[in-house]
């Protein structure tokens, strides 16, 4: 007989399954969910006379945050943006937009309607990202609910059930049932080892049965949670045939179905009405002509009393001399701009690698997913496309924009392909879920962040080992977070432990603003 499970071990087992934290650590591709931070922008005093000139390099959301906060405080801000739009990786694609991929420029030809858009970068706002939500409120950005999970969406994996797509609800219900049976059996042994009181035992067993929908014999024999095969309203529902755990255990999505909608991507998620760039438009509306577009930084010299920035604009090289500089240019592009950064600073910049995330979208000629009982949410495909997202918005309209791929880890598979090859791959992999996909979608847009002009990468990749941040990496991070001469600050999600989120970029801006504010207060003796 095997060693009985101790009470503590059993509780750990429960925790590992019922609790979210441990599973997020193990399972989520989005890394740890950080604690929610309070709104953290400092309150600045008005600048000293002649000391209020600020250059912000890059109109990403961190740069816009700095520009907005300092403008409110009375500073004279200039935002230099290399491209012809603000927002960086907050990019919404709509009819007529140009996707400025180097070597593969695309023009979006979707129907020109408010719901026909695709958030090609940031796409979800968790309710815990309170700084971002604070700016949405302050800037009048209307929000709506984003549907991250639909139990009727699919999981498809060639490794199980002969590649037949299975509903999310079928998979998760059966996985829970199987686990609950295991718990029920383990619990009996745990009781022997270190008895619970009778009342405790009842509570725990009730919880286990509820978790997996076990019958009175503590066995899982299918559940109406997976939906009925037929009936259920005017006649008795007929349960679907139970899927045997051993038939699905080979898919890597078992854990995903339990964790993908927990933590940072758990309810409630939101999105701005009309596209994520409504947030950026909120900032640029507030900042007016302080943002200069097609202004590419060509050099930067940090001095004791300020920073000189050279930039190309309207085919002329111009210079901007400022007291402070906040820089959200991606580190891998900044290394190609003449500068006088200290050696250790440059070393840290060079350590960061370029993110490879890839997304794509089609215009759907009809909202075929709705006919299949899917409204919003994500289907998971064990193929390079990774995910298909059904839009949360425009329900029951004639058409919609369907996200055809989201590969946040190894998007180079698609990036290296030519456009026609990418589209064929998207179609071939999408057909695994929706047999008529090829006939139902049109007008592809692909977003290879590694090749988007003025970005050349998705979120910064600091970690080189799967075990998390090393002490050396933390030291490099600390170096890059600190200002140079108290005059130059690096900002953006690249200066956070949690890349790819707008909240991280905003918090990095707030960190820099707080640091400057403290220095200014110390200087003025306040």
């Amino acid at each position: 007989m095997s060693e009985p499970v101790s009470r503590r071990e059993f509780m750990n087992l429960l925790g590992a399954t019922f609790g979210t934290g441990a599973l997020i650590r193990l399972g989520s591709a989005l890394s740890l969910m950080p604690a929610a931070a309070a709104v953290s922008a400092p309150v600045f005093a008005a600048p000293a006379p002649g000391k209020g000139r600020v250059a912000i390099l890059g109109a990403g959301i961190s740069g816009l945050t700095v520009a907005w906060e300092l403008t409110k405080a009375g500073y004279e801000c200039t935002v230099l943006e290399a491209s012809n739009r603000a927002g960086g990786r907050i990019l919404t694609v709509r009819s007529g937009d140009t996707v400025d991929e180097i070597g593969n420029r695309q023009v979006c030809e979707w129907d020109n309607e408010p719901h026909m858009y695709f958030n090609a970068g940031a796409a979800r706002i968790p309710s815990t990202h309170r700084n971002l939500l604070h700016y949405c409120k302050e800037l009048g950005v209307e929000l709506e609910v984003f549907i991250n999970e639909s139990k009727t969406a699919y999981v498809q994996d060639d490794a199980i059930l002969g590649g037949k797509p299975i509903r999310n609800g079928d998979l998760s219900t059966n996985v829970r049932g199987f686990l609950a049976e295991l718990f029920a059996k383990s619990f009996t042994q745990a009781q022997l080892n270190e008895p619970f009181s009778e009342a405790e035992s009842e509570i725990i067993m009730r919880l286990i049965r509820t978790f997996g929908d076990l019958d009175e014999d503590r066995l899982y024999k299918g559940s109406s949670r997976a939906g009925y095969a037929s009936g259920g309203f005017l006649d008795h529902g007929v349960l679907k045939e139970m899927i045997a755990f051993k038939d699905v255990m080979k898919t890597r999505y078992l854990g995903t179905m339990l964790t993908a909608n927990e933590g940072e991507t758990g309810p409630l998620l939101m999105q701005p009405v009309g596209g994520m760039d409504m947030i950026i438009k909120g900032f640029t509306r507030a900042l007016g002509d302080k943002v200069i577009y097609q202004a590419q930084v060509a050099g930067m010299q940090i001095k004791d009393d300020g920073v000189d920035v050279a930039f190309d604009h309207n085919s002329k090289r111009e210079t901007l001399s400022v007291d402070y500089c906040f820089n959200c240019i991606p580190a891998h592009l900044m290394t190609g701009i003449p500068h006088n950064f200290p050696t250790d600073y440059l070393h840290a910049m060079k350590y960061i690698r370029r993110g490879e995330a890839y997304k794509a979208a089609f215009q759907a000629k009809e909202r075929f997913w709705e006919k299949d009982e899917i409204y919003g949410g994500i289907s998971w495909v064990n193929a390079p496309i990774g995910q298909i997202w059904y839009p949360s918005h425009g329900i029951h309209k004639a058409k919609g924009v369907i996200l055809a791929a989201y590969n946040f880890g190894g998007g180079m598979h698609f990036t290296k392909m030519q456009q026609a090859e990418r589209v064929e791959a998207l179609l071939a992999q999408g057909e695994k879920l929706h047999p008529d996909y090829r006939q139902l979608v049109e007008k592809p847009i692909t977003i290879a962040w590694h090749r988007i002009n003025h970005m050349l990468g998705c979120s910064a990749r600091w970690q080189r080992s799967p075990g998390g941040w090393t002490h050396e990496e933390e030291a490099l991070f600390d170096t890059l977070q600190q200002p140079v001469n108290g005059r130059h600050y690096f900002i953006g999600d690249q200066v956070s432990y949690h890349g790819a989120w707008q909240e991280s970029a905003i918090l990095s801006a707030h960190w820099a603003l707080n640091d400057l504010n403290q220095r200014l207060r110390a200087e003025s003796g306040a």
Partner: protein
């Protein structure tokens, strides 16, 4: 310079499908300063994206490389990662567009690249003797021999290219005659250390 950029923009537009062009024409000026996005301000090179220094590059060499990138002779080997990033860009260029790029790049001042590699330069000097046949004793290059200057180029780029030549990731295309010669020479470098050493020696050569 603005005229040149305009012409590149025009050249790019010509390459786009007709339907796409019709939509683009109505749009505001679109930024076509692609070279500097990767290759750095004024083409100084950018280690962050492994794009080499263009400022000071010989016009004949730049022209040839843009042509062979465009024609799929360079940058199409699946293992040539950096080359595969350049190649799609070059496919958009017409002959006229290439001439404009070469003229534009020629307007950038030469600045020798930052030194980042430290190897055994003395050992590298001995290895360099065979390189000197084509690239010159001072690594100044020779148009007649189709060999570019090496002095002043980013050392990490030289390492990557020598590694790629040696492995056949660059130069193996049937139409890449200069590249195939270079492959043969690169294979005389025994290992990674030899490559580092010879590049360290090139770093000592003034231009």
């Amino acid at each position: 310079m603005s005229k040149c950029i305009f012409r590149i923009a025009v050249a790019l537009l010509i390459c786009l499908p007709l339907q796409a062009r019709a939509q683009l024409e109505g749009e505001a000026y679109y930024n076509d300063l692609y070279c500097q996005t990767c290759h750095g301000a004024d083409g100084v090179g950018n280690e962050g994206v492994q794009a080499p220094r263009l400022a000071g590059m010989e016009p004949w060499y730049l022209k040839r490389q843009l042509e062979i990138f465009r024609d799929g002779i360079r940058g199409t080997h699946p293992a040539d990662f950096q080359g595969s990033e350049m190649q799609p860009m070059a496919t958009l260029l017409t002959d006229e567009g290439i001439a404009e790029v070469v003229a534009w790049v020629g307007s950038w001042p030469y600045v020798p690249a930052e030194l980042t590699i430290e190897g055994d330069a003395a050992a590298g000097a001995a290895l360099y003797r065979s390189c000197a046949t084509c690239h010159g004793n001072s690594a100044e290059g020779s148009e007649a021999l189709g060999a570019p200057a090496l002095a002043g180029q980013n050392d990490w780029y030289l390492v990557t290219q020598l590694t790629n030549f040696k492995a056949g990731y660059r130069g193996a295309h049937a139409q890449d005659s200069q590249g195939s010669q270079m492959m043969a020479f690169a294979r005389m470098l025994a290992d990674e250390k030899a490559i580092t050493d010879v590049v360290s020696y090139i770093n000592t050569l003034a231009r």
